[in-house]
Symmetry: C2
Subunit: 143 residues, 2 copies
DNA sequence: AAACTTAGTGAGAATCGTTCTCAACAAGAA
DNA sequence: TTCTTGTTGAGAACGATTCTCACTAAGTTT
C-alpha cells in the first residue's frame, strides 16, 4: 500500500469513517493515479484489488474523499473526472482535453493578484482549484 | 428586441445560419439575461416569446451561440448553466453557487502572469474563461 | 472471542441532463 | 410563388450519477 493511501486512510479513520475493503481499494487506486481517472476507470482498477466493488461505492467514496479534501473532481466536456490533488492553497489545473493529464501550476505573483481582485469584489472562493482546459505540450505536437 | 440580440442575429445570419422564430426567442432570452440560466430556465423564458419552442432547440441554439463565440457555458456542480459573455480575451467568471450570478473580472497583472506560466509549461489554453466557484458578497452576508 | 450496533455495501432501478431520430416545417434563394 | 434544405418539436435514447433496500462487515462493547 502506498504511503499516500495510508495517510488518507488514517485521516478518514480519524474523522469517523470506517475503513472498508472497497474504500481501501478505491483509495489505493486514486492515490496511485498519475492522471485523472473517470469513475468507470477507477472502478475497473479497484476491482483488480477487490473484485466485488460496485460503481455506487466508487461514487460514494469519491464524495467522501472530496468532502475531506483529499481529492478534487475536474470536468472535461460533459464528463466528470476524478483527480487526486495536492494540498497547495491556490493552484491551477491545466487539463489536457486529449490525454486527460492534469498539470498543476502555481505562481505567487498570480495568486496574489487574483486574491487581491477577489477581495476587492468581496467574493469568497470555495473551490481552491482553477481549471484551464486546453492542450498540453505533448498533444499539441502530435495533433 | 434588444440591441445585443440584434447584433447576435446579424452575426449568425452572416455566418449562414437561418434566423428562425425559436432561435430569435432563445437569443433574446440569453441577450437579456442578467445571470446565468439553465437550459430549462431558458426554455421557460423563451416560451413566453414563442410558446412552441422545444428543449432540444434550446440546446441546439446554445451550441450554435457557443460555437460562434456569443456565449459561454459554465457549470455549477453537476448542472450546466449558460451565460452570455463579453468578448474580452482573458477573463474570469466568479460564479456564485447560491444565486448563480456570474461576475466577470479581469486584470492585466494576473493575465500576464498566467500567460507567462502557460507558455513556460507549453500549455495551449482553449477555454479562454476561467471559472471560480464560491459565494458572492451578497450571499455571504445573507447566509 | 462473541455479540452488537450501525455505517457501509452491491445490484439494479430511478433520475437527471443532454443528445439523437425523424417526419414535418419554414427561411431564404431563385 | 416555388423550391431547397437547414431547422424544428416530440419523444425515444443515452450516459452519468444518485437512490433504494435488504444485506454485510467494521469497530466497539462486552
Amino acid at each position: 500500500m502506498s504511503k499516500r493511501a495510508r495517510d488518507i486512510q488514517k485521516a478518514l479513520s480519524a474523522s469517523g469513517y470506517r475503513i472498508t475493503q472497497p474504500r481501501r481499494a478505491v483509495i489505493e487506486v486514486v492515490a496511485r493515479a498519475r492522471r485523472s481517472l473517470s469513475p468507470e476507470e477507477i472502478l475497473a482498477r479497484a476491482r483488480k484489488i477487490d473484485p466485488g466493488v460496485g460503481l455506487a461505492t466508487v461514487y460514494r467514496t469519491l464524495d467522501v474523499l472530496q468532502a475531506e479534501g483529499h481529492l478534487e473532481r475536474v470536468r472535461i466536456g460533459n464528463r466528470g473526472y476524478s483527480l487526486a490533488c495536492s494540498e497547495k492553497a491556490l493552484h491551477f489545473h491545466l487539463i489536457c482535453e486529449r490525454c486527460r493529464t492534469v498539470t498543476e501550476i502555481q505562481s505567487d505573483q498570480f495568486s496574489g493578484a487574483l486574491i487581491a481582485q477577489l477581495q476587492a469584489v468581496g467574493f469568497e472562493s470555495r473551490k481552491s482549484a482553477i481549471e484551464i482546459i486546453g492542450l498540453c505540450a505533448k498533444c499539441q505536437s502530435s495533433e
